[in-house]
Symmetry: C2
Subunit: 454 residues, 2 copies
């Protein structure tokens, strides 16, 4: 084919999409407003990490860099719940070694994808080349570069992989009837860090995602390979307690002593970091349609979500896989393929956005609830006894390839059914699992088969 596709954005979605398209035989140019992250040091020691799971791994496998990425990844086998007294309880994510999520460094993963893209011989990166505007009729991108402004045309199409503040989407919004919604949480987040122990090892168990659930707010911590943890405090902007109320080091100290006492000895600089690091907002973006002419929004530009299901990156990678499948199905008729992909994928993007919002409540509140803990225990027993028949909501979302909207609809109904079932039961080990399994299937039907649906 040898035709040219222009991608805006060299983040995770843009770079993986570039690899897929190069492997299909396209010539790919990727325009990125920032400099080449491989040539610059990452700023200020902040290490953003993400949870990679089954959906993301499948796409990485397809393009042949799964093993390479896994070398960077730290397995997390469950949620480690920290109560106010410092007691820790492990809630496993699943029963098998297959049902594990992986902490990976965003920057490390992105650089690996960039190198892989260049190795195809068909992908060219243009760094410090911000997209200014798109002419969707002509398929032209106006972009800036260190020497001025230029216009380039695409011979096939354009992918807007430029994230939540997408310039491609803003161009669409100017020239088309784009339905658009941005919804902020009342909560913001702030990153803090746990340095390694004196011997370089992790100060907390490195094979878990740690959670300090505190009702309306929470702290989480994900392990990094260098022995550190990246902690994130999720807290309301206003009200009590809130970021707005924590104005001095002594306010922060009192708040930590009351809520995160077990973290204080692990975080020597938490009072300083609290005021050095920014408070950032949490937004859900939805829009439709994702296509205009030969341009498609892909990844966060089309559906930025809150981070509470650990599915933001996985959803973006699944986008890339499904776009590739649509191109195969439509024999590389670009416009037909992007339209089919966009309209089929939109309900799933909405579903994972909903699930991520639900999971904030679950993480900060329900993980500390004894009835929720009983439900999780029962779910794990059912998954062990009926691995092909029982899928908890978490498993449907994180460890299956079922469309997200199926995972949301069945997951929500099943959660509510199981919570009702365990509420009066003190000891779930006394339940007859075969009977429970029958009642679940009588109420909800059998879980759809992936092969049927995917």
């Amino acid at each position: 084919m040898g035709q040219r596709i222009q991608i805006v954005g060299a983040g995770l979605a843009g770079t993986l999409a570039g690899i897929y398209l190069a492997q299909r035989g396209y010539e790919v140019n990727i325009f990125e407003k920032r400099g080449d992250m491989r040539a610059t040091t990452i700023e200020g020691g902040r290490s953003i990490n993400l949870a990679l799971s089954k959906r993301g791994l499948r796409a990485l496998e397809e393009v042949g860099i799964r093993e390479d990425v896994m070398a960077l990844a730290l397995p997390m086998r469950g949620r480690m719940i920290h109560d106010r007294e410092g007691r820790q309880t492990m809630q496993p994510y699943g029963q098998s070694d297959d049902e594990i999520i992986y902490s990976v460094s965003r920057a490390g993963l992105n650089m690996k994808l960039m190198n892989k893209a260049e190795q195809t011989g068909r992908v060219t990166f243009f760094f410090q080349h911000p997209c200014h505007n798109i002419d969707f009729e002509k398929g032209e991108i106006t972009y800036g570069h260190p020497g001025g402004t230029e216009i380039t045309e695409s011979t096939v199409g354009i992918l807007g992989c430029d994230g939540a503040n997408s310039a491609v989407r803003m161009s669409m919004q100017k020239s088309t009837r784009l339905n658009y919604q941005q919804q902020y949480l009342e909560h913001g987040y702030k990153e803090l860090s746990v340095p390694p122990d004196e011997d370089g090892s992790h100060k907390l168990s490195p094979d878990a995602l740690h959670i300090w659930p505190r009702g309306s707010y929470m702290m989480i911590a994900l392990p990094n390979p260098d022995g550190t943890f990246t902690c994130t405090l999720f807290l309301a902007y206003d009200g009590a307690p809130s970021f707005n109320q924590l104005r001095s080091k002594s306010d922060v100290r009192a708040f930590f002593q009351a809520n995160f006492a077990d973290l204080i000895p692990l975080m020597p600089r938490y009072e300083e970091e609290f005021f050095e690091n920014p408070t950032s907002s949490l937004v859900t973006l939805r829009c439709s349609p994702w296509t205009k002419g030969s341009a498609l929004l892909l990844g966060d530009s089309a559906h930025a979500i809150v981070p509470f299901y650990g599915q933001g990156m996985n959803a973006c990678f699944e986008d890339c896989r499904l776009l590739n499948a649509a191109l195969a199905e439509h024999e590389d008729e670009w416009v037909a393929a992007i339209k089919a992909f966009g309209s089929a994928r939109k309900p799933d993007a909405d579903a994972i956005a909903d699930l991520a919002l639900d999971n904030f409540v679950e993480m900060r509140d329900s993980t500390a609830d004894p009835i929720f803990a009983r439900k999780r225990e029962l779910e794990l027993q059912l998954e062990e006894a009926y691995p092909d028949r029982f899928f908890s909501k978490y498993r449907l979302v994180t460890f299956s390839h079922l469309p997200y909207h199926v995972a949301r609809d069945r997951g929500r109904a099943q959660d509510s059914f199981l919570m009702d079932l365990v509420r009066p039961v003190e000891d779930v080990s006394e339940l007859d699992l075969a009977d429970v399994m029958e009642r679940v299937e009588a109420a909800l039907g059998p879980v759809p088969s992936e092969k049927e649906l995917v």
Copy 2:
């Protein structure tokens, strides 16, 4: 007081708000990006008209220009339904002379408001002064003018009355966590016109809002004082039939012959006008919060809605009245008053947006439905027999001052109750009204008293 308030936008909301504020003793500057409409001719003979009803009239009465405006207005006593065979049926809006809506020219009304504002001696208009940006911390507006760019500060506060494409809202969106949604209809609209008869009189009955309901699309016509009607065709952009399918004069002719045959002899230039006039989109905008620092979004900038309930302008005028009431209640503590107004009013803005979307279906589809016609007949009988106890949804919205969210919630429940009730009844005059009234109140409770709620 003598303190200064800056208003962005000299449209209907900005000008009426300016009058209210001047009457409270404030000095008001109004920045408008367009020229003074009083000094220029209106372009191309297009005469946009709006339906003025009870909520809008109450605000005009309060500031003392109701009579002046009514001199421009044409009463419309009901919907005149035109079927495909050209038969006309009148569906009155209400029972009393109080329950009439008025067709007014947008431009004529706006000019009267501008004159009234200047007559207060406290309002100054700055035309050709577009707002470029707001610094909400400092309360400063950066604006352009024919000679360059300047910055002005407000001593009290800022009102963003600059409509659906509000520059004030866009400044807010850059600097705050603004929840925002824009939702387009699949339908667009195109204006056409019916000229006067040879003797200068109206070619259709001038005391009605004419509707040609055709299922998924419709035409409406509102009378103007000069003997013309402004017609608006609401039709999908894509599909069958749609604007996209009407590509030639012969396409348009065939479409009109099949659907609006009775209009053809009244519209000598419809085939030309169809291609001369633009197809415009229909959008619902919602956002929150409406305030940032001392700035408030008011009118369409906060809640642009589709035109199908004839409440866009009325809602804007009610905004002005309620803002004035909030200032009185808060003894002119500006920030407290705008915050209280904004959070109390938001659910009503959402409700009228919902009602306007509902009413598109009702106008284009249900007005032609015999069961709907029976329901309207029963409603009018109930309103006549029980004027203080029975309010149809239309009456709650259009002829009451009940909060829009009350009108929506009760109106929807009552509609569904009455449709079920009349479905099996061939002749509603056989119904025992006292019995129906009792059943309505048993199901829904008595209608809330305005005095209680307002």
